[in-house]
Every structure is written in C-alpha cells, then in structure tokens.
C-alpha cells in the first residue's frame, strides 16, 4: 500500500487520487468518513422533505419538491457508489446499521411540519449542503468524487432558489411573514450548528490534510452566513446575526453552542452549553431519526420478507 508521505506529495503537486491502489490507509479512512456523512445526509433529506411535501400548497409546488427529492436521492447514490468502489459494504450501511449511528446532520431529525418550514429548509439546509459539497467539488483530491459533483453543484442551487423564491413570496403577506419568522427562529441556529465544531476544537484535521475537502468548518459557516443573513434582511426576516465591519465578518448575536429543545423547536439563548453537550445531543439523535431511517428501509424489508416466504414455499413443494 501507498504511504501517507507519498499521498501527501502527490496532493501537494496538485495531483488527484483516482483509486484505492493510490491511497494510504489513513487517506481511505478520511475519505470513507466524509463520504458516509455526505451519503447519509442526502439520503435522509428525502424522507425529511417528503414528510413536509404533504403540506404543499398546490400540485405545481408538490411536483417541484418531488424533483428536489429525486435530486437528493441521486446525490446519495453518488456518495454510496464511491464508497462501494473503495470497498465499503453499502448494503449493510443503509439497511443494517442502527438508525442512531447514521451520520447526517441533527437538523433532519427535527420534523418539517409546514410549507414555510419546508422552504426555509431549502434556503438554509440546501445552501449548507451547497457550501459543503461546493467546497469538495472545488478542492477535493479524490478525482472520481470531484467529477461526479459538477452536476450536483447546479442541482443544489436549484433547491436554494426554490427555497428563496418561496420565502420571498410568503414574506409579502403579514401572515406568511409571521409563519416564516417562526420557522427561521429555530432553523437558523440549527443550520449554524450544522457546520460543526469551531476550528480550534475540530478533531478531524485528516480531512483537510488529505484535502478530502478544502475549507474549515468556520470558513464554511462564515460563507453561509454571508449569503443567508443579507437575504433574510432583504425580505424583512430577522436573524440572530449581523455584519461586523471591524472584523469584516458576520457574527452571531447568541452564544454558540447553547441549549435546544427539539420537541418545542425552541432555542434557549440564555442557556449556553459546551460542544460536548451538543455532541451528546447529536449522538442521541432527534425525534424523527428512527421514523425516517425506517421509511428508507421499508421496501427492502418487505422484499426480504416476501423472498423468505417464497423460499419456504419452494422448499415445501
């Protein structure tokens, strides 16, 4: 097997890694972990969005959302397919792994229960996905993933445009704006948190060392804030963050991290906590973790049951 030093030298020269034969064990591990997060996130977004699709205000709106869900399933397929290529048992990953061990963002465990929440998810969550995958697309050292992401990049922008178009539309009317504001109040901090531990606490430098991705958590979070905060302000929606010209940065108006009540969908800005507390909450998973994972698996389980029954009949005959 190739050594870490050889891999790093190749990356330093701007070369791409193209197959398992060209990876060190540590490189493969960093790639595996990153791909699982990507695949799980895309796949779980499908039942999470489908749950909200029942609230679509028209057939056209429903069809647009179905197209988005279809894109997400396609994106999940890319990540899992690459995992298969590097020797991971994807069938086990999707159908046998306990739901609590899935690696998608906690945000998808909190159900989207109105059309306003659904379109804020498109504007906030899909923009987070666009930032994270756009970074991989532009910077990753793994060739097959980089090439597969060209189309994903454009599709995620479609989802963001869908979210922002609807947010603009809802914000024109006082009732719509109030509902939008309620959704933003819990979804904004949840997406800020999505980008993970701040750089001084981050424990996976391998992802950056091996250039699986190029930008740090704080850089990606800042890049997200730079687009989302001005957009919300432009449509009269308040967010707990503002631009600080002295630092040329967007800063939060609340302590990160702090406590969140997923049942009430309410943040307690007056109760700061530690990142260990957040990691504990993420590990425990949120209210819809098992429901959504099971939804993804239902057809597979049914098929297995029917196959077993058919096998039994065959043996009897």
């Amino acid at each position: 097997m190739v050594t870490d030093a050889e891999v790093l030298e190749r990356i330093r020269q701007g070369g791409l890694i193209e197959s398992v034969d060209e990876m060190s064990e540590a490189y493969r591990e960093a790639l595996r972990v990153t791909l699982i997060v990507s695949g799980d996130t895309e796949l779980l977004s499908a039942p999470a969005y489908y749950h909200a699709a029942q609230q679509a205000p028209s057939v056209n709106a429903y069809i647009s959302l179905m197209a988005i869900i279809q894109d997400e399933l396609g994106h999940a397929h890319i990540a899992y397919r690459i995992l298969e290529d590097i020797g991971v048992d994807v069938e086990q990953l999707i159908y046998e792994r306990p739901p609590s061990q899935w690696k998608y963002p906690y945000a998808f465990d909190v159900p989207l229960e109105s059309w306003a929440e659904m379109v804020v998810a498109n504007a906030f969550y899909d923009r987070a996905g666009y930032k994270l995958l756009g970074d991989v697309y532009h910077h990753t050292s793994y060739g097959p993933w980089k090439r597969a992401l060209a189309k994903v990049d454009k599709e995620e922008i479609f989802h963001v445009r869908h979210g922002e178009m609807w947010m603009r539309r809802l914000a024109r009317d006082p009732d719509g704006r109030a509902e939008l504001q309620r959704a933003v109040d819990w979804m904004f901090p949840l997406t800020v948190e999505w980008f993970g531990l701040p750089d001084d606490l981050k424990r996976h430098p391998a992802q950056l060392t091996f250039r699986i991705k190029g930008l740090s958590n704080d850089q990606l979070r800042q890049s997200w804030l730079r687009e989302v905060v001005p957009f919300c302000e432009s449509i009269g929606i308040r967010v707990p963050a503002h631009y600080d010209p002295a630092q040329d940065k967007y800063v939060l108006d609340y302590p990160l991290p702090c406590e969140f009540d997923p049942e009430e969908k309410r943040w307690h800005f007056d109760r700061p906590c530690t990142w260990d507390d957040v990691l504990r909450r993420w590990k425990q998973r949120g209210p819809y973790n098992e429901v959504f994972v099971e939804q993804v698996r239902r057809g597979y389980r049914q098929l297995r049951t029917w196959q077993a029954a058919a096998q039994e009949r065959f043996e009897w005959a």
Partner: protein, 114 residues
C-alpha cells in the same frame, strides 16, 4: 409609447430555467411573443409535461415583464404543439449545458408519431 416585441425577447433572455442556469429563450421554451399596445402575450412551452417548474417559470416571466416600462397586461400562454425537443436548444446554450453534464445537441429533429 408601448413596449416592442424585440424588448420583450431581450427581457425574457434574463429569465433562467430554475433547474439549470440557462436562459429560457436559449432553451427554446419561448415559442412566440405578441404585443398589442400595452398588452403582452408570451407563448411558452416546457421540456416535458411533468416539468417540475411549470408554475415557477410562468411566475418568473410575469415578474420579469412587470418590471419592463410600457408593459400593461401580461398573458402567459402554455403551448404543447409542436412538442419541445433538444433540437430547440439554441447554440449559445449547447456549451453551457455540456459543462453541467447535459448533452442536448441532437443531429436531427425527430418527426412524426411514435
């Protein structure tokens, strides 16, 4: 002084397909423009009857034309005949779409039934 047909086409050039950032004019979705005084009629088609953006694109057309000086009533008419084919995509969009991994350049236009 009303708007001209030419100005309407130019304005529509800025309306993009929500799924891929390509002008709906270059995609060949705009089938015709008529101006009668201040009234504007746009005939538009879609790449498929199950296109996920049928309502969305019509809304974008209305918003775009409402900003144009000299435009009064805007009617967006959906037409399905002749059906859209990849051959309707105009040359400026070929390369853009190819960059996104979408190949549309058909050599011949399919004719007739199934």
């Amino acid at each position: 002084m009303g708007v001209t047909v030419e100005e309407v086409w130019q304005a529509l050039q800025t309306v993009e397909d929500p799924e891929l950032p390509v002008s709906i004019v270059d995609l060949g979705l705009v089938r015709g423009v008529r101006v009668d005084g201040d009234d504007v009629t746009v005939e538009v088609t879609f790449t498929a009857m199950g296109c996920p953006c049928i309502g969305w694109i019509q809304e974008d057309i209305r918003t775009c034309l409402a900003r144009l000086p000299g435009v009064g009533r805007v009617e967006v008419r959906v037409v399905w005949d002749p059906p859209w084919t990849p051959a309707d995509v105009r040359p400026p969009a070929w390369e853009t779409l190819a960059r996104y991994g979408v190949v549309v350049r058909a050599r011949t236009r399919p004719r007739g039934g199934l």
